[in-house]
Every structure is written in structure tokens, then in C-alpha cells.
Amino acid sequence: MLKLIREVLKVGQATLPYPFAPVELAPGFRGKPEYDPQQCIACAVCTIACPPNALTMHTDLEQGVRTWSLFYGRCIFCARCEEVCPTGAIRLGHDFELASFSREDLTVRAEFRLAACNLCGAYFASAKELEHVLALLDQAGLPPEDAADRKALLRACPECRRKTDLPRVKPLIQEAFNGRV
């Protein structure tokens, strides 16, 4: 008996004090995805990458609105969204205390405006995404005379872009096919 008590005292307490004290997390622990809507460009890359479709996006072309939503109840904490996010708007934190009484409290939603085509006026891409692409073009160091044309082209919807670009591309195609087109 005394031997046992001595053994117990030597071993000490194995039980962690959680929830009365914070628990020590391993480095690289993937907790709750923290979303920064300021930084989000609503490009939908994360919704394509998300394996369980916890991230979803709905585009309303009539209203010109795109709604991003994240449902923590379906998230598997794989960090694929963090990997693919081009602006670092989503990053997995260390929070794991997600228990909730309702489904509603497990959802994060954000609504973004779409950009209208500068030629036909139809909505075609998220306004912030367009802004980000134009900023990337500047960062890539395009020559100024090229940049103005490129930027004007990017502000048009894919359909108008194709029509506008045709006169420029036509000679190139004819050359490629030796004038047989």
C-alpha cells in the first residue's frame, strides 16, 4: 500500500487542467479557419478547393451580388482554402472551441458586389477580384503603353473581350494558317 502511494506521488498528476486552463497545442495545429472579409476578393478558389463543400459561393448575376459562406459544421480543417487563397484572406487559427447550439451560429457569410462590363454593362466578375488583378498587373511591371490596353480589356466581360480583341488577333490567325482562313 505504502509502495503504491509512493509510486503515485512520484508519477504526479497526469490529467490536464483543461477547461480551467488553456491546453497546450502542438505546432502546426489546424483550428478554426479565420476569415478576413476585407482581404477576400470573392474569386471562389477556396470553394473549388474545399473537399467537403463547407465553403460555398452563390452568384446572382441579376442583382450583381456574390455571397460567400462558410459552414464550420462541415469543415474538416484540411487547410486547402488557406493553401489556395491568393490574398491570404483565410488562415487556420488555433481556436477549437466550436460547440454551438444552432447551425446558424456555425455560419460565416459575406456579400460582395460584382463588376459590370464597361461595354455591355452585364455583371461578370467580383469587383474586388478585378481590382486585385489590375494591381497584380502593375506589380508585374507591364510597360505603361501596354498596360492601358490590357486594363481596358480586363474591364470588359469575356464575351465583349472576345469581340474587341478579334481585329488584333485576326491577322495573327491568318498568318498561322497561311491566309487559308
Binding site: P19, Q39, G73, F77, V84, L98, F101, S102, A127
Partner: protein, 258 residues
């Protein structure tokens, strides 16, 4: 055995009547401790079960709060549903629900239990315990870690408060997303990120590339080697050292080109 409707919409889930709801409210308010938990696996991968058992080991010791896992639903106050509710496990799940005495608390445990998780759109899956049963608490995670499990039960028993809150953001006019590392040339960032991701995998690669690019950005380029050595000595990870030195090579090659 009772006949069960097989509709998959949560609108057809079992609803307890008002008297039961009142009893349940009293149960949640008064019980606080000493609740008996029965675990129902509705077609899960067993990851959640392993974490539940980890939560009752001496390290986490859920039994110090009186939470005890029992082996029959007839003894249970709390039913924990894990798994995405497959076609074959739906009726056993419902039988366990009916076998437990009222009032009872139902918990959806893990990503699958909460909403079907990665299996949500499979043909043979109902997609979450709330499609067939009235769920009182959701504990997300894939699987929830033992601390998350203990936190979940503490929330269910009213010992701790719920931390999660629904959020909604509407785009404002002053929102301008920042470029990543705007001070660095785009092609350098892309070359470093690609090299890091190729060597370390996407997730770690990005984090390693971020540390390296921050070193280039903040420090004196001539002193990069010594800053890098200091950082790597502090980390003490030979794999990280290998990757960082290769990133340095990428950077030097880029400098030579420009």
C-alpha cells in the same frame, strides 16, 4: 419495430412535443454534472470514437465532470451521434433514440454528425444526424479533439458559454485587398513560393516561403545569410534548413538574372 419515414430532409426529423421540451430545458438547467452518455455510430470512420475514448482517458478525464460513457441507450441522458447517417445505420440510430428515456439531449458530433462532412452528397447518406433527429448541440471537428469534446459537453451542460456566433459581412466602399508582399517583385515571389511548395507541400511551403520573403523584405540583402543561419539555428530542424538553403539559392539565381 416501428415504421420510419425515409425522407432525407431535416423538415421530416423527429420533433419532441412541448412537454418533452420543457423537461429537456429543466434537464439542461439542473443536471450540470453526472450525465450518462451513449455513443451512437451512424456510419462514421471511427475517428470520432477514438477521440471520444481519448477524452475519457486519464489525460483528459471527462469523468471528473461526471460525464460517463454507458453501454446502453436505456441508461443515457445524452446521445452522441457520430457519422454521416448512412442508409443502413439510420434505423439503428432511430431505435437508439427511442430506447433512451425522455428527456434526453442529442449531440451531433464531428463534421459528419453535424452535416454529413465530406460524405454529405453521397447517394447512401442522409447527411447529418439533424436530418432525422432533434439535435441540441453541434460539436464540429474532423474529428473534434478531446479538449473540443470536453468543451462541447461543458457547453451542453451549461458550465461554459458558447463561443461561436453567426457573422455576416456586407462589402463596404473602402475595402481594398492588399497584395501579398507588395514590396517584392512578383516573379521573385512566385519563384520562391513555387520552390518552397514543391519541397514542403502546399501548406507548409506557403508558410516557409512567407518567412523567407519577410527576411528578404525586412533585412539587408547582404546580411541574408547570417539572418537565415540565426533563424535556422533557433528552429533546429534539418528539413527546414535544407529547404531554406535551397530557397536562398533560388533568390541568388534571381538576383544574378536581374
Amino acid at each position: 419495430m416501428a415504421e420510419y419515414d425515409i425522407k432525407t430532409d431535416s423538415a421530416y426529423a423527429i420533433r419532441p412535443d412541448e412537454a418533452v421540451d420543457r423537461l429537456k430545458g429543466a434537464l439542461l438547467k439542473d443536471i450540470q454534472r453526472s450525465c450518462y452518455v451513449y455513443r451512437v455510430d451512424c456510419g462514421g470512420c471511427n475517428g470520432c470514437e477514438i477521440e471520444i475514448f481519448a477524452a475519457i482517458t486519464p489525460i483528459f478525464d471527462a469523468e471528473r465532470f461526471g460525464i460517463k460513457v454507458v453501454s446502453s441507450p436505456r441508461h443515457a441522458d445524452v446521445l452522441v451521434y457520430t457519422g454521416a447517417v448512412t442508409r443502413s445505420m439510420r434505423v439503428p440510430a432511430l431505435r437508439a433514440y427511442h430506447a433512451a428515456p425522455e428527456p434526453k439531449v442529442c449531440v451531433a458530433y464531428g463534421a459528419c454528425g453535424c452535416s454529413g462532412g465530406i460524405f454529405h452528397d453521397l447517394y447512401c447518406v442522409w447527411g447529418g444526424a439533424d436530418k432525422i433527429l432533434p439535435i441540441d448541440l453541434y460539436i464540429p471537428g474532423c474529428p473534434p479533439t478531446p479538449p473540443a469534446t470536453i468543451h462541447g459537453f461543458a457547453v451542453a451542460l451549461g458550465l461554459l458559454n458558447q463561443k461561436m456566433k453567426a457573422s455576416y459581412h456586407l462589402q463596404q466602399d473602402d475595402e481594398h485587398p492588399q497584395l501579398l508582399h507588395p514590396q517584392l517583385p512578383l516573379d521573385l515571389r512566385i519563384q520562391v513560393e513555387r520552390a518552397a511548395r514543391r519541397m514542403a507541400g502546399y501548406w507548409h511551403g506557403r508558410r516557409i516561403a512567407d518567412v523567407f520573403l519577410a527576411m528578404i523584405k525586412n533585412g539587408d540583402p547582404l546580411k541574408l545569410s547570417s539572418t537565415l543561419q540565426e533563424y535556422l539555428a533557433a528552429q533546429g530542424d534539418p528539413r527546414l534548413s535544407e529547404i531554406m538553403h535551397r530557397l536562398e539559392e533560388v533568390y541568388l539565381a534571381w538576383l544574378a538574372d536581374h
